[in-house]
Amino acid sequence: MAGMNDRGQLIILFALIVSGIIVTLSVIYTQNILAGMESSRIIMVFPKEEIRNLRDIVEEDFIDSMGLKKDEFDEYTYNVSRDIRILYAQKGSYGDIAVFGSYPSALTSTVSYFNVRITYIGGGIEYNDTTLCRPEGCI
């Protein structure tokens, strides 16, 4: 009778151990899925296309306009920045490319380099980047 009791306790003990292992594994599995989904979702919702678009405007249109005189260049970039802010505001986000410094060349009085701040706020993400642009490109 005593031997029978021992076997019963053993079975219960093993059942506990096995159930503990299975529960731990299922928790790890669930955590893995959640972590994978969450990180890929964050990559997906990151507004990379909007930021790339703003950067393209700086690298193409702004640099192409460096042949303008400093005053004209400042007016041009101010107008682009204002319109972009209005267009993004309509979609419930904030996007801006603000030129906060443009420096004319001493010889031709056209712009030789400028500083620009690219900002995008939307979808819970705030992106801010400041860059210096020359006719050869931005760094």
Binding site: M1, M4, N5, R7, G8, I11, I12, A15, L16, V18, S19, I22, V23, S26, V27, T30, I33, L34, M37, R41, M44, V45, E49, R52, N53, L54, D56, I57, D61, S65, L68, E72, E75, Y76, N79, V80, R82, D83, I84, I86, L87, Q90, K91
Partner: protein, 163 residues
């Protein structure tokens, strides 16, 4: 008697075990399920963004975004080269194109291709900067009296859905 108690205990253990495993799995799937729609949309959205990016290339081409916008007149019908190139990029999905631009601090809107989207449609947009000097006086974007370098910022919105 003892054997019966053992069986009962084993039964309770088994039930508890199954309950815990199913509970954990269901709890996780509840969190996952609303995201699946985003995943299926993401691919189509990326195709739309990529198409706009490809088309926003050489502005001297008739089928680029800039070339298409420069050739628009008050009827707002895009040129056929642009439509052909766009359809090559996004077919078999169906699409709608809208443009938005700012005129005297007001947002103006025009629909270039007027198809009716389904509720599953996704949108991608790209901002293109035109110069007043490049426009024909008959263009809807033209600002008379403005300088040739005055920018006109146009947002092209491409809405796509599976046909």
């Amino acid at each position: 008697m003892v054997k019966a108690q053992m069986m009962t205990l084993e039964g309770i253990m088994g039930a508890l075990l199954l309950f815990l495993v199913t509970y954990t799995l269901f709890q996780s799937s509840l969190v996952i399920s609303p995201l699946w729609s985003e995943f299926s949309d993401a691919q189509l959205k990326q195709i739309a963004y990529d198409s706009l990016r490809v088309l926003d290339g050489n502005s001297s081409q008739n089928d680029s975004l800039e070339g298409m916008l420069l050739s628009l007149d008050s009827s707002f019908i895009p040129n056929q080269d642009f439509i052909n190139s766009l359809e090559k990029l996004i077919r078999p999905a169906n699409y709608r194109i809208e443009i938005y631009w700012v005129s005297d601090s007001e947002i103006e809107k025009a629909v270039l291709v007027d198809n009716k989207p389904t509720p599953e449609a996704v949108a991608a947009s790209r901002i293109v900067v035109l110069k007043n000097g490049d426009l024909n006086p008959s263009s809807p974007f033209y600002k008379s009296g403005a300088k040739s370098y005055t920018p006109i910022v146009v947002e092209v919105r491409l809405i796509v859905w599976r046909a």
